[in-house]
């Protein structure tokens, strides 16, 4: 249907007004909210992630696509909730204690939301106990930790240790990311997953909730 093709296009092109209009038109034409998300928003954000991975897109383009996707989600989210549809997974996300840099975290949060996850964004400079409390209170199966500085990477381990201490480590999967991180570091601190791109974060999150 032409509205839906326009939606797909608008998200990839980062045109939030067109995305919003196309979503409204599709809803008016009787398209199911789940179809809009699963059939169009998710594939569009996957394409955005792919373009980022091969350096066709950079951070600004991704942010604009995320903005367009969110404009569509604003319309779809209440309708989805009314149908009682379950998200792919529930993820608690934030930058770790001491780290105020949230651009990467915001991108991953948007990509996860575009990928069908319910995202509980705790913001920046989040203390370990806040991650633990939020994951427990919201029954999140997934926790995503971000750090931009080598100085704050240690807070990732502290956060993972806090889940252990609270007896919740087995109940959640923890994924980590950020510019200075490596897979070796992720393994060393006992994270369940690591990825070096926002697009990769969605694929990783899907694998982790399916495991």
């Amino acid at each position: 249907m032409p509205e839906l093709d326009k939606l797909h296009e608008a998200v990839i092109e980062g045109d939030w007004k067109a995305a919003s209009a196309a979503t409204q038109a599709a809803i008016a034409a009787g398209v199911a909210p789940l179809t809009i998300v699963g059939g169009y928003l998710v594939p569009a954000m996957d394409e955005v992630g792919r373009r980022f991975d091969c350096e066709e897109y950079y951070v600004p383009e991704m942010l604009l696509s995320a903005r367009a996707m969110k404009a569509a989600m604003e319309i779809v989210r209440p309708l989805l909730a009314a149908t009682g549809a379950e998200p792919v997974g529930r993820v608690v996300i934030g930058t770790v204690k001491g780290d105020l840099h949230d651009i990467g975290k915001n991108l991953v949060a948007s990509m996860l939301e575009g990928g069908g996850f319910e995202v509980i964004d705790l913001g920046a400079d989040v203390a370990p106990e806040r991650f633990v409390e939020a994951a427990a209170a919201r029954h999140a199966g997934l926790v995503a930790l971000s750090a931009l500085l080598t100085v704050t990477m240690g807070s990732m381990k502290t956060t993972i240790d806090a889940f252990q201490a609270a007896g919740l480590r087995e109940k959640v999967k923890i994924m980590v990311g950020g510019a200075p991180l490596t897979r070796q570091y992720a393994d060393a601190i006992g994270a369940d997953g690591y990825t070096d791109s926002a697009g990769g974060a969605v694929a990783l999150a899907r694998r982790l909730v399916a495991a």
Partner: protein, 242 residues
Amino acid sequence: MRLKLISCEVLFREMCDACAHSPHQVDLEFLPKGLHDLGGKPMAAKIQEAVDRTPEGVYEAILLGYGLCGNGLDGLTARHTRLVLPRAHDCIALLMGSRERYQAYFEQNPGAYYRSTGWLERGKGLQQLTHDTIGFDQPLESMIRKYGEDNGRYLYEEMTRYRSQYGKLTFIETGLEAGGGFIAEAAAEARECGWIFERLPGDLAWLRRLVDGDWAESEFVVAGPGQRIAASYDSGVVKVEA
């Protein structure tokens, strides 16, 4: 000893001062601060080029005026001459004189921006090496020019919001601020942003030990020929790998 120092230009005044007071003959080479903006791997590649340009058999050691710098020194390999690198996360730790002092200050002040002579006179307009499509640190006007009024404003807000979390500008004073210009400029920047301004006494003893050849294991990593420097992700910051 004859030593070669390859340093980030952000430490220009401090390194010149330290070398002038060193008992050794130190040849200096400064690399652009903008390397930092390239990201870890490309930065390491550029520094490796400088290491590889160093002639064999001339120097007792190649000193690196850097810290781990966002993994920008990770993977650096010593060829014929050993490499010496302070166990610091970045230049702020070096200017403060110890990583413990930096860590403690950082934990107390997560929202602090740092300034020093180098950050003021060499920190600006040095994005020349950045891939400009990445778009960080672009002024609002250029964002609007590139992405249109609405999207440009949105991007600018998204990409600078983290700054609103900052509340302090800390000028690290090393005694090399000739004239009052540096401190006045930093104070004015803090005022413009509505941040608290703090003058923190720096400590150049660590940098001096680098160029003096006083390389204690606790403060420096020394990579012999064929060995490489790697991030250690522990309190030692960096380690040597075979």
